[in-house]
Symmetry: C2
């Protein structure tokens, strides 16, 4: 990384990737926090979900996507996939020396600690709930990252494998199937008074209101998309890479000109869900191949 | 195919494949109908589910699996994946000249027609309900195969994308989430009196009782695993390939000696679900790579 970034470097997009289109919740949060940045989104929709796959397979896919993003000349990389953040940590570490990079797990853990630590006292140790896919939860990654930072912290984790298919089916927090499913998943956590709940999967912000409504305590809800956006802004500023204004050429184009979307399966298969997540039409969705 | 099969040919296993382990419901049905046959099961668990992928991707995966099974010297191939049966029909047709092959879609359609056709009369045209994944239903494959055979037949199709994740979560027909989900899916079909309902996905037999309990008419339930087993027996007999007795060496081995199971992701990830489907322990699960 050059100590004085060229304008060409600053103009480059931020690369954001996930196994599917769920990570668009993260891209949306980044756009809201950093509206002048362009985003190149890569969703490995041909191989989604990663949550059921093994560590070796996930690490191999991660290398393929990072190589693709590097070739596309992004200025920073956001890992919007919790499963990749949890299981391909070693692969991400190799790349962090080469390019500014932030992952949803690290950002979510930092936001949680930053919120709870100022209230630290020896009488009352906070309890954090973590919701995620089966792979994320069984990796124990959130728990181990949280307790590395604060060894006494109580962490209660719950796998919620049905929430991604429910989101993809378009069933929202109004659906009684969603509410009953959340009841089943949240019940084991409710025996504790929770101080924070981490939404450890990019689809879960779609159910944020329904999750909050069912929690008997009123914990801080940690949306890793928002956490990533704050952490990314700090990293871009540190490297002098923040894009402070949109070019006049691009500002006259349609509203989604900030986003270029690449997927590994047929674009029309995900367009509906992608637009539901973003709340606006996507103009540029391209098909790519990996490996 | 030689007109007089050698004993070596008869001893070969039957190849059964699916995108994941759901097709073990089919393997189990084949074992019950043809207890002397050995089965080589291939589950592409690293790339499951196929139901959300495009036709091109599914055809490419199908070619890879057929090539793998051919190299493993199976004597017949059973396509236990509805998505492959529906979307890779052209690929399967290329192979049918080379090896006896039966797919769940063709077998399910034939069993339905065989059941309904004898009662044919011009006053009352039967109505068939088809349940399947989003890809199977949107391919229209069941409807087009049924009406090719019987043009006047009424077909009502319903995609049920949540049933596979519910089965994989281990939630059964006793769960109120499953029952409420089935209610939502079956309601649009209930405006008609159904004469048959095809379970057009290999996971759905796990919910057979719950589905039957919610149907107000008492239709024939077509389980494609059972249909495949009958059709396979006929094809093996026609080619003189039926294995009439187990060898004494193998009959002294444990009960699952009839099944060899190959998966593309870590075997331990699917062992639990696989054993729940089969109702017995699996002794041989091996990891393979495709492509």
């Amino acid at each position: 990384m050059s100590p004085t970034p060229t304008d060409e470097l600053i103009q480059r997009p931020i690369g954001v990737f996930d196994s599917g289109v769920g990570g668009l919740t993260v891209a949306k949060a980044i756009h809201q926090a950093l509206p002048h940045e362009k985003i190149l989104y890569v969703g490995d929709t041909a191989r989604v979900p990663y949550g059921t796959k093994s560590k070796d397979v996930i690490q191999q896919y991660t290398r393929e996507i990072l190589t693709k993003m590097d070739a596309a000349e992004v200025k920073a990389i956001v890992v919007a996939c919790n499963t990749v953040s949890a299981l391909a940590h070693d692969v991400l570490e190799e790349w962090k020396d080469l390019i500014p990079m932030i992952d949803v797990l690290t950002a979510g853990v930092e936001a949680t600690i930053d919120h709870l630590y100022p209230h630290k006292n020896s009488q009352s140790i906070p309890t954090v709930g973590v919701l995620g896919t089966a792979a994320t939860i069984s990796s124990n990654a959130y728990e181990s990252h949280l307790t590395q930072r604060w060894p006494e912290l109580q962490v209660r984790s719950q796998a919620c494998p049905l929430l991604v298919p429910l989101a993809e089916e378009g069933w929202d927090g109004q659906s009684d199937v969603v509410r009953r499913t959340l009841e089943v998943y949240l019940e084991p956590l409710q025996t504790h008074s929770l101080d924070a709940v981490i939404l450890g999967c990019t689809h879960y912000p779609l159910f944020r209101d329904a999750i909050e409504a069912q929690l008997s305590s009123s914990p801080m809800i940690v949306d890793s998309g928002e956490a990533v956006a704050q952490s990314l802004r700090a990293q871009l500023q540190e490297h002098g890479l923040e894009r402070l204004e949109s070019t006049s050429a691009s500002s006259s184009r349609p509203s989604t000109n900030w986003l270029e979307c690449w997927v590994t399966d047929r674009p029309d298969h995900v367009q509906g869900l992608a637009e539901r997540i973003l709340g606006e039409p996507i103009t540029e969705v391209a098909h790519i191949t990996l490996d």
